[in-house]
């Protein structure tokens, strides 16, 4: 990440972020408060920043899944017609095709909350309550064997779930000028 930092330092040195040049822009942005942004501020960092209050268990999640997800992601997350959400742990390397699912591939459990909240259920995204979101995340994690049946997911516990492919990513290095 050091290249990012040094380039950023260069950008600062060039005055890209200084307020001195502000007069050069029309300066038409209106100040907006956190409360006003809140309905759109739905992204969750891998350390859990942004997770809302609320909680849910795998059992509660099973009910959410049965009514809101099963039609597209199959019985117990097995997939069909859309992505499988369960299975494939240990399948990433080797000769057989990799089975990439939330369980086998996703490095952070927080991404489940972030993604399901913004994009699922496909035909009515952004409609689940926080409790439903924690519950369905708990259910998917439990189906993958990553948490126990009686564990509760909330803003503290979800970021702590250790995903099997947590260390499976390497930052790409672009080609250097020859």
């Amino acid at each position: 990440m050091s290249t990012h930092n040094s380039a950023l330092a260069a950008a600062c040195a060039l005055g890209l972020f200084s307020s001195a040049a502000l007069a050069d822009t029309p300066n038409l942005g209106k100040v907006i408060t956190p409360e006003e942004v809140a309905p759109w501020d739905i992204s969750i960092s891998p350390d859990g920043t942004g997770l809302p209050p609320g909680s849910g268990t795998p059992k509660q999640g099973e009910a959410v899944y049965a009514s809101k997800c099963i039609a597209c992601h199959g019985e117990k997350g097995a997939g069909k017609p859309n992505d499988a959400l369960v299975g494939g742990i240990g399948s990433l390397g080797g000769d057989k095709p990799a089975m990439k699912t939330v369980g086998s591939f996703w490095p952070y459990a927080t991404t489940i909350f972030d993604y399901v909240r913004r994009a699922m259920p496909y035909n009515e995204s952004k409609t689940l309550t926080n409790d439903e979101l924690y519950a369905v995340a708990a259910y998917i994690l439990q189906l993958n064997g990553l948490i126990g049946e009686n564990e509760t997911m909330n803003a503290q516990t979800l970021p702590k779930v250790r995903m099997p492919n947590r260390d499976g990513f390497v930052t790409f290095v672009p080609a250097k000028p020859k």
């Binding site: 990440m1 990012h4 380039a7 950008a11 822009t25 942004v37 597209c72 990433l92 995204s125 672009p174």
Partner: protein, 428 residues
Amino acid sequence: MGHRKSKGATIDADVVAGNGLLDRRVFLGGAAMAAATGGITFPDTAAGGPLPVESWMKTPGAPFVPYGQPSEYENKVVRTFTTVPGTTGTGASRTPHHLLNGMITPNGLHFERHHSGIPDINPDAHRLVIHGLVKRSLVFTLDELTRYPMESRIAFIECGGNGQLLYQKEPAQVGVQQMQGQVSCAEWTGVKLAALLQEAGVDPKAKWILAEGADAAGMSRSLPLAEIMQDALIALYQNGERVRPANGYPMRLLLPGFEGNMNVKWLRRIKLTEGPTMTKDETSKYTITMPDGKSLQFVFPQEGKSVITRPSPGLTMKEPGVYEITGLAWSGYGKIAKVEISVDGGKSWAPAALQEPVLSKALTRFRMAWRWNGGPAVLQSRATDDIGYVQPTREKMIADRGSRTIYHSNAVTTWGVSEKGEVKHVYA
């Protein structure tokens, strides 16, 4: 119209590589042109009778229309698309490059990749929010942004999954549209992201931004601030008109040279953060899984690449003679420096002419002259960009990265020409 068999040997002076590849200057006039045409024999019969005076030459044409459309005879020049099961709007559409020429993609034919259809956004209700690690969180309307100084940039956008069929064991029997149609090029005009960030006042702790769309998928990606600062544009116009709904109306992020998915459409929010958010589309998708099971993440540049668009599958060559080989080259690292062509499966190569303008991170059209003698031929193009990056062969790409991924395939695409003039996708 009878044609005499042309005598290829008479223009030997222009042959620059095996199997009849001719000097690129053959089509550009001047001495080489004269030499080439001097060697070519011409059809011996004329047009075949007096020219007809057609009906359209005698009666007034159609009235004005508010928004013009292509000729009805061009109704096969269309995008093709595939959708994810159970959806009508999640999937991808592809540009018919075999039927186009030049470097600019018409707006109605620009490729698309949507994750929950095309939102129907009322521009008056649309907002762009900049918040997170900034001094002042700001919100902009489209009207307000339209008052900012703008910049235009001709840039390609390519889906990270374009060319993925090259990872298959057997050559897919498809043409250039299905193989390489998820790249397009337009003139994008808009407001520099840097100007808006400056207005908000960036906290030095901020190293990344999260860019998020207003579509039902809330498409979102993390982008390293320092790497996008220079070029990032909030694009409001596409080839002179407002950005098309399918390309992000009323505004999208444009990051020239970077993976298509990062150029977030329907942009509604930019959040400055310390680290990446690790969204679904930068973890579950758009990562390159290597043979050992590790995955390359944050693969930002679309690396140097080219493809021959003509001749290509579906465009049968009717008879031996001189043909133009043309296609497109591009690189997310910069300008195209050189495109080489081979018609003997990579045994010999010669440089193609690059059509001006040659712009950094834009599609570049190349042209080459070829005398096809009617025998089998194997056509390839290989791009080199101005940082010296050379487009890999398929063999090299797979040796380097394996074939456990579908992303960032930039290998040489090969077209085989049969004695009948039929063109097929082959591996060389």
